[in-house]
């Protein structure tokens, strides 16, 4: 997909190489600094890493095969549930729990995918919405799995008790996911997804097994969401079904679209932005002590729900004036960092559109 961006301009000058190298170092330093600054920023950074995984997961459905999911909180929750359950009830080690979380997300996604193969477009959105909420109200409330109302604990291993170390694990998982995602879009599965998104008949005429690849997309998305859920359970050190509500699913869709469905860099940026909105910004408001400006109730509410309000506004603005999302601005920068020339208006990708594209 973005392969043309990867072709390195052989006429790169020494300053050009240095500038690009500097940009990469700055990016890496920023990612590390966020986690190592102090325990609070590490907590925000962990949330951001988990959101990035969810964003990449949703991007497979929304951006690559052009379907819709309003139930990703259910996939994420399934991963979180099984990670917490296995770690607490059976004492399995952290790494195994994460793998099982991914498998759980993948299995639930396949079950949704089997239905998805029969229904299309708008109806799929409805199916995922209903399945997501049903998972929350039924599976996530089964007392023997979830430890009743108090929630199932998910204790981190001693080595990862500190937020900064746990953050490094999250970063490693994100890097792994980014690598796989890059391979996906650069190999035949990614090409098949794009063909399916464009027109299923064309995909079939190219010899692509449409049903099989759609299922594959659901499995991959489910695995990523499940692993993200596992990390989430361990980061908050418990599973609580109430955390996986429909609002979360809406937030995930919004951050993917605001970031730019179909664009890896855009989705990563959108996910980080939304995570920052939900954590850092809320605490920033707290620090500023809005109680001096507003009545106490209102400022408390603003802390809790202000980010969602901002998120919804961001979405509506994105759809109205920036239809390809943050990708529209970020893709040229990424192309430059990967060794290409800087093209502000990125014409080569102008026609490639995610779910936010116009017909």
């Amino acid at each position: 997909m973005a392969t043309s961006a990867a072709t390195i301009d052989s006429r790169l000058t020494a300053p050009g190489v240095a500038a690009r190298g500097g940009a990469w170092v700055a990016l890496a330093a920023g990612v590390l600094a966020a986690g190592l600054f102090n325990s609070d920023t590490a907590a925000y950074a962990i949330t951001a890493a988990i959101y990035v995984l969810i964003g990449l997961s949703l991007n497979v459905i929304l951006g690559y095969i052009g379907q819709m999911s309003l139930g990703h909180q259910g996939l994420m929750g399934s991963g979180a549930l099984f990670a917490a359950y296995l770690s607490t009830a059976h004492g399995l080690p952290f790494a195994v729990d994460l793998v099982v979380a991914g498998v759980a997300g993948g299995v639930v996604a396949v079950l949704v995918g089997v239905v998805a193969l029969r229904v299309r477009g708008l109806y799929l959105a409805l199916v995922t919405l209903v399945v997501g909420i049903t998972l929350q109200t039924s599976l996530f409330e089964v007392p023997s799995l979830t430890g009743g109302g108090a929630g199932e604990p998910a204790n981190r291993p001693t080595l990862l008790l500190s937020n900064d170390r746990f953050y490094l694990v999250c970063v490693a998982v994100v890097i792994g996911a980014l690598y796989l995602d890059t391979r996906l879009t650069g190999s035949k599965a990614g090409r098949a997804f794009l063909a399916i998104k464009e027109d299923e008949r064309v995909a079939a005429a190219f010899g692509i097994n449409v049903v099989g690849y759609k299922l594959l997309a659901f499995v991959l998305s489910g695995i990523l969401a499940g692993v993200a859920g596992g990390l989430y359970a361990f980061s908050s050190e418990q599973f609580n079904g109430n955390n996986f509500s429909f609002l979360l699913a809406l937030t995930f869709v919004l951050m993917t679209v605001v970031g730019g469905a179909g664009s890896r860099a855009g989705v990563v940026a959108g996910s980080v932005l939304f995570a920052v909105l939900q954590t850092f910004l809320a605490n920033f408001f707290l620090f500023k002590d809005f109680t001096q400006l507003f009545p106490t109730n209102l400022s408390n509410n603003l802390l809790q729900f202000g980010p969602n309000l901002v998120a919804a506004l961001l979405l509506l603005i994105t759809l109205a004036v920036n239809p390809r999302g943050m990708a529209q601005q970020i893709e040229p920068v990424v192309a430059w960092m990967r060794g290409g020339p800087y093209r502000g208006a990125d014409r080569s990708h102008a026609i490639r559109e995610g779910i936010s594209g116009r017909p």
Binding site: V115, R118, T134, E141, V142, L254, A311, A312, A320
Partner: protein
């Protein structure tokens, strides 16, 4: 009373189901109206109703400096607010995205829903739950409950719900098939280009459709709120449970997504099945009602995608 003759514990879920069904039916009709005119699912449909209910509540209680008004007047103002929310959504979001793909419009309506829920939460908070008072309280009919009382049933409001719901729908039906505007909406929903050719103002009709959808959402909201009692922000969409939005969607799908009477019948079916499932599903299955209805939705979509009652146009 005819309904009373059912008696026993069987009558409770049936009457409750019809009451719920009227509300879900109204949400479903709103969804179908929008689907027919814009070919999208309006995920903000039920939230129009939350807005109306909270505005009505603000005048009834009163809250936040609103003047205290009689119950009926407050309800009417709530309905106006809901219709206004529908109109604003059309004007500020839908019309701007007129040429966008349906997927974009779908995400946009989900964004509107999140915006309304968040705005409610910011203004009202979720810590102290507001109780929406009933117009008539204390009318318990023990004969609806099992012998020996216990499962008694507040009956007065249910009757009002059913009567108001049916009256509203009847009026809507007459209006739809008799007046010029109703016919215009139908014409535009069949073929916008052809409608434009015969001189129908498609923009005005689009606004009217969304306003009407808002009104239907509002009617559902102010009928649903009193017997739900405590109403958190987003109660019509349903945050940690199925709300009228999801019930309405299932109803609309059962009704075939394009048929107004089908949507209402679907609403009744969903209401009755849901209330029976809630009563008779074993409590060892958490969320039994949701499991039954989700299964029903999947079955309908897989086996008879055109709905049980309608025909895809």
């Amino acid at each position: 009373m005819l309904l009373a003759s059912f008696g026993g514990s069987f009558g409770v879920p049936l009457v409750a189901g019809i009451r719920d069904g009227c509300i879900y039916g109204m949400v479903a009709i709103g969804l179908v109206l929008i689907y027919k005119s814009n070919r999208i699912f309006n995920f903000a449909q039920a939230e129009f109703g939350s807005v109306g209910a909270f505005i009505a509540l603000a005048f009834i209680k009163p809250l936040g400096g609103f003047p205290k008004l009689p119950y009926a007047v407050a309800l009417i103002l709530g309905l106006v607010a809901s219709a206004g929310t529908g109109l604003l959504t059309e004007r500020l979001v839908i019309r701007r995205l007129f040429n966008a793909s349906r997927a974009v419009l779908l995400v946009a309506t989900a964004g509107v829903a999140l915006f309304l829920i968040s705005a409610e939460a910011v203004i009202l908070g979720i810590q102290d739950l507001r109780v929406f008072p009933r117009v008539a309280t204390g009318t318990h009919y023990a004969f609806f409950g099992p012998p020996g009382g216990g499962d008694s049933f507040t009956y007065g409001w249910t009757e009002i719900d059913i009567v108001v719901g049916l009256l509203l729908l009847g009026a809507l039906g007459v209006w739809f098939f008799r007046t010029r505007w109703g016919k215009s909406i139908l014409a535009v929903s069949q073929d916008a280009t052809a409608a434009r050719a015969v001189g129908i103002n498609v923009n005005r009709v689009s606004a009217l459709t969304w306003g009407l959808a808002g009104l239907l959402g509002g009617a559902a909201g102010i009928l649903y709120a009193p017997y739900k009692g405590a109403v958190p922000p987003g109660f019509m969409t349903g945050i940690g449970e199925f709300g009228p939005l999801v019930f309405g969607f299932i109803a609309a799908v059962i009704g075939g997504m394009t048929s107004l009477p089908g949507a209402f019948a679907g609403g009744l079916a969903v209401g009755i099945i849901g209330d029976f499932a809630e009563k008779y599903m074993p409590t060892s299955v958490p969320g039994g009602e949701q499991v039954v209805l989700a299964t029903l939705l999947l079955l309908v979509l897989l086996v008879r995608p055109s709905g049980l009652l309608g025909r895809e146009a």
